[in-house]
């Protein structure tokens, strides 16, 4: 009982109630323009896709793959680049500027896995790297697989499966 009263006295000493403070803090937050964020995301996301297209063209023209077969090694190369940039600490700098522009491409998926792996390295290879690697990327895989399963079942029931 006594602790409770001192607690409320503490609040009285503040010049603002927590509620007032929150609304005050909100007015002082730097307003992040949604439009500017979208432009940045568009530019960086678009550029990453152009880079992917360039790598794919390289596989098509230099190694004689057809377009569909070239998309797998393209993704692998992009992931390798993303992992290297994450190790150098560059990808996180890009991500701060680009927001979703660097998070939505597959490079962002690799970045989340690589940075989780690096972050938890000190906890050991099995408990740290192994079990934390999918901390962020896991939800993508889980929901992707569940969605694919549901779509597959729907096609199975409707009898429209296969391409």
């Amino acid at each position: 009982m006594s602790t409770k009263s001192t607690g409320s006295q503490k609040y009285k000493k503040m010049t603002m109630s927590p509620k007032e403070y929150q609304s005050f803090a909100k007015t002082r937050e730097p307003s992040r323009s949604i439009f500017a964020n979208c432009i940045r995301a568009f530019i960086i996301g678009g550029l990453i896709c152009v880079l992917g297209q360039a790598i794919q063209e390289m596989f098509v023209h230099l190694m004689g793959m057809d377009r569909e077969a070239a998309s797998n090694p393209t993704v692998a190369v992009l992931i390798l680049l993303s992992v290297i940039l994450t190790c150098l600490g560059v990808y996180d700098k890009i991500a701060q500027w680009a927001g979703a522009g660097s998070a939505v491409p597959v490079t962002g998926f690799a970045n989340s896995m690589c940075s989780a792996a690096l972050e938890h390295r000190s906890e050991g290879l099995v408990l740290g790297v192994g079990s934390n690697m999918f901390k962020l990327a896991g939800s993508v895989i889980v929901f992707g697989v569940v969605a694919a399963f549901v779509v597959g079942i729907v096609h199975l029931i409707l009898g429209t499966g296969g391409q």
């Binding site: 949604i34 568009f42 297209q53 390295r121 499966g161």
Partner: protein, 116 residues
Amino acid sequence: MIFLWAFLVGGAICVVGQIMFDVFKLTPAHTMATLVVIGAIVDGFDLYEPLVKFAGAGATVPITSFGNALVHGALTELHDQGWIGVISGIFKVTSAGVSAAIIFSFLAALVVRPKG
């Protein structure tokens, strides 16, 4: 020309992600999961493949293509193997992306000290 469409379509998908960040206040994990589910549903209606033909890497590089590839594997196996293909085929197409991400991240963790 395909480079221009890759830029525009890839950028547009990223803008959708950014709007989910900023307007709907979703966490990155929620945004990515939603985009993957959207990709899976779009491929369920057979509409992702035309987008890939049209925009190339603009459609295959964003994370939506992960959902598309999962469904694609499931449906192709469903066609070839029957009902069990819905389960066995899911990872058939996406192996390159997931495996590469695991292997490179693991090697990086062996070699590199984290920055920042």
